[in-house]
Symmetry: C2
Subunit: 318 residues, 2 copies
């Protein structure tokens, strides 16, 4: 895959990116993914500045391959995060949830590659005009925070591919070799997977949450809290309480109060499956075992290559 645009841009072996995820993707997961030929990303959204610094340092100590940090652009201490990234020479930054105009130029001047996550064609065009090096187009089925247009990966990827010139990374519903191949046929140059790496040995998600992901069935997640920021989560007890609240025609403030603070940590990191907020994608229904990052990437590439070859001989295609 030497001529694949994502591989060339990021200096990795396979066009597989592990999404930066709050409470799941610290240095241990990121370095394991990078050591396995993908791009590991430290999710800084749930980290205090000093914690991010520690994670970057540990990541650098455990891999000599490229890795990245994901920064939600609305993060309150963003200047400190940016400073750590520049000081510690992180080679790649993924930005999301905010305006890419603010930091892209500064990061690029420091020779840091910038990739921005979008959920619509409009934001893809905007990100490209801000000078980002690549774009992640994330569909409605993705876990965690999501866009307002509700465009699915199947529709968003070809729509974005048609209008941008920088490399395109597809996200949302991509979980294995066949969905990776499907996304690339739709127009992506590579893929980003979050949900698949939540239930990874090196993920810092709580074991209870990982076990819940293994048991998840089709229909077990929902995009909700759209009046605050749309977020896809497990339909657990907290979700049911939110649904009950919706029946009373709540104000945005009431929804914010219901969500409160620290719920994602409580659920995803501390393992409280009832009261916590459990951010995960629809494709969780397809995960039934915890693997190491290396096993996940190897399995994906074996399936990807196998389907590609089978298509020449498989009856259903010919």
């Amino acid at each position: 895959m030497n001529n694949n645009k994502v591989i060339k841009l990021l200096g990795i072996k396979y066009p597989i990116i592990q999404a930066g995820m709050i409470w799941c993707s610290g240095w241990e997961l990121a370095s394991a993914v990078s050591n396995s030929g993908g791009l590991g990303i430290i999710g800084s959204g749930s980290m205090y500045p000093d914690i991010l610094r520690q994670n970057i340092l540990k990541c650098k100590n455990t891999t000599n391959q490229p890795f990245a940090v994901n920064i939600p652009l609305l993060y309150p201490n963003i200047e400190e995060h940016i400073k750590s990234i520049i000081d510690l020479k992180v080679p790649i930054v993924f930005t999301s949830a905010g305006n890419p105009n603010i930091w892209t130029k500064e990061l690029k001047q420091k020779n840091i590659k910038v990739v921005h996550v979008v959920s619509s064609v409009k934001f893809a065009l905007k990100a490209e005009s801000c000078g980002v090096d690549a774009i992640v187009a994330e569909g409605f089925e993705a876990g965690g925070h999501n866009g307002r247009e509700e465009t699915t990966t199947m529709c968003l990827v070809p729509d974005v591919a048609k209008v941008i010139n920088v490399p395109l990374i597809a996200a949302g519903g991509i979980i294995d070799g066949k969905s990776m191949l499907a996304a690339m046929i739709l127009g992506a140059d590579g893929v980003q997977m979050g949900t698949r790496f939540v239930a990874c040995k090196e993920s810092s998600a709580h074991e209870n949450f990982k076990n819940m992901v293994l048991k998840a069935k089709e229909g077990d997640t929902r995009l909700t809290l759209k009046e605050i920021t749309p977020v896809r989560m497990m339909k657990n007890k907290f979700y049911q309480e939110v649904e009950e609240l919706y029946k009373t025609n709540p104000s945005k403030e009431q929804l914010l109060n219901k969500l409160g603070r620290g719920r994602a940590k409580l659920g995803m990191f501390e393992g409280d499956l009832e009261t916590g907020e459990l951010e995960i994608g629809q494709a969780s229904s397809q995960i039934n075992k915890v693997f190491t990052a290396q096993e996940i990437i190897q399995k994906i590439m074996i399936e990807f290559n196998s389907i590609k070859s089978q298509m020449l001989i498989a009856n259903k295609f010919n």
Copy 2:
């Protein structure tokens, strides 16, 4: 593709099915698709019994290839529709929006093949247990009436493929050769396309509606009216009015009153783009020209085969 399961089951040349759509797919579209090697479907949901009979007769007069009738199982005059289908020897029936247990056995006893449309794994298993010959799994991005789980094509197809044994047809977001190939890699044996055939020369959709589809951009549709039956439609004036009503925490009755009767006909068939209900899928953003059914199917198969061959040599895959 002689060994493709959908082709073998339905006796068609390509595993491309034109969805049965209210106000768009009468005999003219269905016979044009069937004459072009796909499966044309007459959408009976918007037809009085005598109109359906006329459509079946005209379809039989204009094609000697297999065609089908789609019946929403909640259709009020369903017995009369079923009688016409049996009397006039329609070879294939697609059922949707209701319990497949009621009519499947009777239709199969008359040597009619039955295919049922589902939006979840649960309903796929139920349909298979009722003895249907094949299943359409339709994702969240599809136009018109849709399921409650909001599972997208990218996630639904592999989930359903894993648990059923009958042939699987993917629907929702499939619009061309590359999305067809993607859906088949995800586990489908064939595809059903609705939105692509709305803007087809032989579709009975009003020209105004066809022109609106050509101009549609990513984000221009929305799944709404979930308290009645979830339906994906264009975000036109009527949709905006529904959104305004939602702000008042309306009862189901108020929503039903707002919808009223005949709105889909008004919009899709009579061309009132403001007051009418315009059912269409997310992939409408990818349509920019009206083609004949034959052109559509030829283009799809050329792209499908071309990508399949290119994958052997394209840099991004290898």
